[in-house]
Symmetry: C2
Subunit: 156 residues, 2 copies
Amino acid sequence: MKTDGRLARMLHVLVHMGLLDGRETSERIALMLNTNPVVVRRTLGALRDHGIVESEGGRGGGWKLTRSLDQVTVLDVQRALTAGTILTTPVSRDHPSCPVERAANSVLEEAYAAAEKQLIAKYGVTTLAQIAEHAKARRWQRPRRETDSGHNDDGA
Amino acid sequence: MKTDGRLARMLHVLVHMGLLDGRETSERIALMLNTNPVVVRRTLGALRDHGIVESEGGRGGGWKLTRSLDQVTVLDVQRALTAGTILTTPVSRDHPSCPVERAANSVLEEAYAAAEKQLIAKYGVTTLAQIAEHAKARRWQRPRRETDSGHNDDGA
DNA sequence: TGATATCGTAACAATGCGTGTTACGGATAA
DNA sequence: TTATCCGTAACACGCATTGTTACGATATCA
């Protein structure tokens, strides 16, 4: 199953933006995410609509966080990306009036509701600042090699 | 995101098979699942490989449960369908050596691991017999209409 | 004013994976 | 020997994210 990589990408890049603390163009951000500027504008656009970042056009324009890293939770980003539920319950709709199918679906729905509740709880208490701290801790554990410029490409 | 409907379908049809308690052909099962026989054979084949059902070819052949409904859990079915994890953690792999990306991924992995643990716990204690009971209870709450033959089509 | 840098967005191809279909070979019972 | 059924290959389809190209709008700088 192909997963939706937007949340991970946004967490990644928002932390970078917070650490760099400046206005970044979609071009530079695309390099961080190993993709192209249009994808960046498309996805960051959703975050802008929810007040997490702001964008400015024209020369010298780009993207900037509207709050500090400790004031944005993973849940904020998730909600900005998709309105509804996070997990999609794998129900069947082959015979919607069949009591057996409904009973089977019920079990799955309950299980997924509980799982998602747990996800949301975790997302709600995790800030981007914590991710940044986590990243710094990792960096210290492994001494830097060559030029260490925040994000490095992986010889891909 | 398009979900994998196999688990729900298998739960649905296994309960029917347990209640009917006979050998069912992929053709008849396909009608229950509103699909075609090849899809049924394909999916039930995975369950057969894990000892949940058995199949027999030739005239009078078909599919049958190898155990009673109270001896098959939702987890058994899930495991038969997919070997690895149930949920797919939505990590990014844009710059695998970037500490920020790794830190973001870590958060997601932990959250999903906890959510999946909960799912598994629920799946492990839920048997097909319980689903069958649930279905009966529903049936009783709503008086039957017309001919009630286990599974009815939905005028689709 | 004109050149340049950036965003905003439409349009369309590529990708991945479960699903749907057709086809055909093998096996089993009447 | 014939009628069923399973087993499996092969290929098209649906659907959502991602990738790409293109072009218009806007803001800055000389």
